[in-house]
Structure formats: structure tokens, C-alpha cells
């Protein structure tokens, strides 16, 4: 039967090995692959300013982006493509709470033109990432003709 010493060795040894592999993969991802897949060269000061606004207002507390966040308001990964620049700016600059089809209200952020442009830059950058196929295309066979 397994002894306590062997069990401890299994725990410490196993943890050490997987941690080293995990750190090595992390390194490879962040140095080699993520810059390519996310077009890091396109992260302009406007994109960064947009991301800061996205964080400061906790947009993720209602929406998802890259599939992460809350499930109360629409996915924003492809919002640039789906709605376009004009619509996005209208929502963000609106002085009254924006309402979607489900009668849910958004907070009226009353952003300035510049802030709204930065948000659009951020969404455009996110829109162009290679996300390994996310979000999935709807099923052809289920479409009404």
C-alpha cells in the first residue's frame, strides 16, 4: 500500500512538474503567440484609453467581452462589426439611459466625443483578434429561409 511519504512525494513532485510546464507555456504564449494573435502592434494610445474607460466603468459587470463578464447585456467582442461606429458612439454619449429590446436600461455615461472615439478604437482592436473561432457562427441548417 501507498505510504504517507510516497503520497507526499506524489503531491510535491507532481505540483512542481506541472507548475514548471505551466510557467513555460505562459512564457511562450505571452512572448510569442499572443502578440501575433491579438495584433499587439495595433494597440494605440486610443485603444489603451478605451480599455481604461472599459475598466473604470466596469462595463464587464453587465456585458461580456471575449466571452468574459456578466450575462445581462450583449456580447461586445464583435460589436464594432455588428453595430458600427455611429451606433456605439450614440449609446455611449447618450444623456438618457439607453434601452435595448428587452427594456433593460444601460447607465447613461454621457461620454465626450473623444472618450467615445477611444472606446470605438478599443472595440475595433478587439474585433480584429484571432479568437480560435469564437464567437461561433450560427448553424446554417437552423436558419429560417
Amino acid at each position: 500500500m501507498l505510504s504517507k511519504e510516497q503520497a507526499r512525494f506524489f503531491f510535491l513532485g507532481g505540483t512542481f512538474v506541472v507548475s514548471v510546464v505551466f510557467l513555460a507555456m505562459t512564457w511562450h504564449s505571452i512572448v510569442k503567440e499572443i502578440p501575433k494573435q491579438t495584433h499587439e502592434e495595433n494597440i494605440t494610445p486610443e485603444v489603451i484609453a478605451g480599455k481604461r474607460l472599459f475598466d473604470e466603468n466596469n462595463c464587464m459587470g453587465c456585458h461580456t467581452i471575449l466571452g468574459e463578464g456578466a450575462y445581462y447585456a450583449p456580447e461586445l467582442t464583435k460589436v464594432y462589426e455588428r453595430k458600427g461606429e455611429g451606433y456605439i458612439k450614440a449609446v455611449l454619449m447618450s444623456p438618457v439611459a439607453w434601452r435595448g429590446a428587452a427594456q433593460r436600461k444601460m447607465v447613461a455615461y454621457e461620454m465626450t466625443e473623444e472618450e467615445a472615439n477611444n472606446m470605438v478604437a478599443f472595440f475595433k482592436w478587439v474585433n480584429e483578434m484571432d479568437l480560435n473561432g469564437f464567437p461561433p457562427e450560427p448553424d446554417e441548417s437552423l436558419q429560417p429561409d
Binding site: 504564449s29 494573435q37 480599455k51 473604470e56 459587470g61 450575462y71 445581462y72 447585456a73
Partner: protein, 452 residues
């Protein structure tokens, strides 16, 4: 209770219960908002309710873990806490930081990083608080005459939980890198080091409640936490599938995270077997229910429901939908909430000298909250699966789909009401126990943990 300083634990548990009540309140606000009743929107918008709900969960669980450590470590290491005064300072500062963060969320002072909404400035105070806590625990362990595996695993879990908070404090300009390291905190907490904490508390409770030989229990503890890390560390990859990270995570994350349920299965089998083996009956039935219940429910919520959407082919469709909320609720409940309620149920009679564990309220608390939570999970599951089909498969508009599934949130709120009644009964008992007293100090043989 054998050491006077163990009484500190009581106040951490009390803080836990208070924050749990608040967490549930904010949960109802969100449930109603999903049903279309967002009357509070102007004062507490959904994102404020959500940040509050999530962070209260984390803080009440941490407060519960800290209370558990303050209760367990003196007894395991046979030494009073090195400073009771500093432990109270730590308690109060924890409460102050927590409350400040929550108030901040309502004033738009936060960071939109799911689970890590606490602003970086406050994070530094969190770090100082946790360092003080660790200093007290490790100091006591060091001075004590006995260093058990149980106390080492528990302390290791708490120590690495603190270390892993740090990657969440780095600034990134890239959304992908931000996310990548956010999971270093969140995933490696709940599917890694928190399981050490859970395992440590579980081992302690099983030793006390079943009377099975410590050597046997602690051997299996090593095996379980070994399985946890073997699968869970590389399992982090299941959060890297679709956020702009390379494709190899689909393979590595898929395989290793699919193995994660093994650790939870081992935990459940271990708890049940030790209980069977005991052949003794400890009088504190409610502690036993919560302990075994936690081991079983964590397997269902974290193991089975986690595995249900962890393969990349499935996750492509479920990622970012209510399916995630389904799993999140039962996993946190089973593994961590129930374990905190287990240690509270065990410790309270010993701290206060009153024995309220076999009254009807304590059993109703267990069953109603568990049945309520399982029903909530089902409501989330139905809503989530419907959302996946309509939004991802058919391609309907997000808001249109949300309107279709509003009705399931009615079911959710009903189930949550049942759950809340259970929790109210638990807290009612908690209050009835009264405060800890030195009269409850007892010697080894009197505590009744090894009763024939």
C-alpha cells in the same frame, strides 16, 4: 475549545454570516433585474449589484477560512495564538477594507475585472491585511510543539492564496493579457490553492468527527491535493481557449481540466469512506452533514457541472452564457460555502459551550438551503441551455433571447427563496448559540469528539 485564543474565530464567523446575508440580498436584486424589474437601476445598476454580490462572496469565504485557521491552528499546533490583539486588528481591518470596497462599487470606484473589482489602491491594504493574518498563523505554527500535515496543508493553501493575489495587481494594456493573468488569480484559487484550504479543513473535521486514525486521513489528503494540482494547474487552459491565446491551450486545457473532477471525486469518496469506517457516532450531526455534504456537492457542482462545459468543442458555444453561472453557483456552494458552514457548525458548540446541533432548525437549514441551491442551479441550467441554442446556434439577437428566458428567472427567484429560508435558519441558530466564553474551555477527553 482548548485554547482561549480560539475564541477569535467566532468573530470571523460572525462577519462571514453578516456578509453572506448581504450577498444574498444583492443576488435577489440581480434576479429581479433579469426578470425585467430593474426599479433600482438608478441607485444600484446591475454591474454594481454584481460586483457587490461576487466580492461579498469572496470576502465572506475568506473570513470563514481565516476563522477556521484561527480555530484549527492553535489546537493542531498545541499553542495559543501568538497575539490575540493583532488578530482582532486584522479582523477589523478586513471588515473595513471589505465595506470600503463595497461602498466604492456603488460610487463607480472599481475596476471592471470580474472577481477582481477591488481597485488596485485598496488591493495594497488587502495585501497588508493578509500578511498580518499569515504572520499570526505561521508564527503560532512555528512556536507550537506539533506540526501536523493537516495544519501544514491548510497554511500552505492560505499562503499560496495570498501569493496568487499578486498577478491580479499588475497593469496591462492588452485585454487578452489582462484576462490571462486574471485567471492566474481566479482559476488557480478555486481550482488550486483553495482546494488545499478545503482539504485541510475537511481532514481536520473528519479526524474530529469520525475518530479515524490521523495518519490514514492525512495520507489521503496528500493524494487528493496532489490530484488537484496535477490536473488543475494546466487545467487553467480552459479559460484560454477563446481570449486570443494560442490554440495549444485547447488541447492542454481540455485534457487536464477534464481530469479535474478526479480530485473532487476522490474528496467525496474519501469523506464517505472515512465516515463509514468510523463506527463511532459524534453527537454533532449537523457538522457531519455539512462536512460530508460539502464533499459530495463539490463533486457535483465543481466536478460534474464543470466538466459539462470544459471541453473546447462545448465551451465554444457555452462560453459567456448563463451555463457558466449555473456551474459557478453550485461549485462555490458545494466546495467552499458548505465547508465554511461545516467548520462553523463544528466550532460553535465548542466555543460557546451550548449544544444546539441536534435541534430541528439545524437540519432544516441544511436541507432547505441545499434543495434551494440545487433548484437554482437547474433554473440557471435551463436558462443557459435555452440561451446557447437561441443565441449561438440559431443566431437570434442577445436581447431578444433574454426576453425569451425571463421566465426562468422567476423559477430562479422562487428557488432562491427556499435557499434563503435555509440560510436564515442557519443564522438564527448561529445567533442563538450566543457568544464564546472561557467556560467552554475543556480538556482533551471531555470534548466528545471520540465518543464510542
Amino acid at each position: 475549545m482548548r485554547y482561549k485564543s480560539q475564541k477569535v474565530a467566532y468573530w470571523f464567523f460572525a462577519l462571514s454570516m453578516l456578509l453572506l446575508t448581504l450577498q444574498i440580498t444583492y443576488g435577489f436584486i440581480m434576479g429581479f433585474a433579469h426578470m425585467g424589474f430593474d426599479g433600482l437601476h438608478d441607485f444600484i445598476p446591475f454591474n454594481a449589484a454584481r460586483a457587490t454580490h461576487n466580492n461579498l462572496l469572496v470576502v465572506w469565504l475568506l473570513s470563514g477560512f481565516m476563522g477556521a485557521a484561527y480555530y484549527i491552528i492553535p489546537e493542531e499546533s498545541k499553542h495559543e495564538l501568538i497575539s490575540v490583539k493583532l488578530a482582532y486588528v486584522q479582523l477589523i481591518s478586513l471588515a473595513v477594507v471589505g465595506v470600503t470596497a463595497i461602498i466604492g462599487f456603488h460610487l463607480n470606484w472599481w475596476e471592471g475585472r470580474k472577481f477582481l473589482e477591488i481597485p488596485r489602491e485598496l488591493d495594497f491594504l488587502v495585501v497588508i491585511n493578509v500578511l498580518l493574518f499569515l504572520g499570526l498563523i505561521i508564527g503560532t505554527l512555528y512556536k507550537g510543539s506539533q506540526k501536523t500535515t493537516t495544519s501544514l496543508v491548510l497554511t500552505m493553501g492560505l499562503f499560496f492564496a495570498a501569493i496568487l493575489y499578486l498577478p491580479g495587481m499588475i497593469w496591462f494594456d492588452s485585454q487578452t493579457l489582462d484576462s490571462f493573468f486574471r485567471w492566474y488569480v481566479v482559476h488557480l484559487w478555486v481550482e488550486g490553492v483553495w482546494e488545499l484550504i478545503m482539504g485541510g479543513i475537511l481532514a481536520y473535521l473528519l479526524i474530529k468527527l469520525t475518530g479515524v486514525d490521523r495518519e490514514v486521513i492525512e495520507k489521503w489528503l496528500y493524494v487528493i491535493v496532489g490530484l488537484t494540482f496535477l490536473s488543475g494547474v494546466l487545467g487553467t487552459g480552459h479559460h484560454y481557449y477563446y481570449i486570443g491565446a494560442p490554440k495549444y491551450w485547447l488541447i492542454v486545457g481540455g485534457i487536464f481540466s477534464a481530469l479535474e473532477p478526479l480530485a473532487f471525486l476522490a474528496m467525496a469518496l474519501f469523506a464517505i469512506n472515512m465516515y463509514r469506517k468510523s463506527g463511532r457516532s459524534h453527537p454533532n450531526k449537523s457538522a457531519l452533514y455539512w462536512t460530508i455534504g460539502s464533499a459530495v456537492m463539490s463533486f457535483v457542482g465543481a466536478g460534474l457541472l464543470g466538466a459539462a462545459h470544459t471541453l473546447p468543442q462545448v465551451n465554444l458555444y457555452t462560453h459567456g452564457t448563463l451555463v457558466t453561472a449555473m456551474h459557478g453557483h453550485l461549485a462555490f456552494w458545494g466546495a467552499y460555502a458548505m465547508m465554511v458552514l461545516a467548520i462553523i457548525s463544528y466550532a460553535l458548540p465548542n466555543l460557546t459551550g451550548r449544544k444546539l446541533y441536534d435541534n430541528a432548525a439545524s437540519m432544516y437549514a441544511f436541507w432547505l438551503s441545499n434543495i434551494g441551491m440545487v433548484c437554482m442551479t437547474c433554473a440557471f441550467a435551463v436558462a443557459g441551455i435555452a440561451q446557447v441554442y437561441m443565441e449561438r446556434k440559431i443566431g437570434l439577437d442577445f436581447m431578444q433571447v433574454q426576453q425569451e428566458i425571463e421566465v426562468h428567472f422567476f423559477g430562479l427567484v422562487l428557488a432562491a427563496t427556499l435557499f434563503t429560508i435555509g440560510i436564515c435558519l442557519f443564522i438564527y441558530n448561529f445567533v442563538k448559540y450566543g457568544q464564546p466564553t472561557d467556560e467552554a474551555l475543556i480538556t482533551d477527553t471531555e470534548q466528545g469528539e471520540v465518543m464510542a
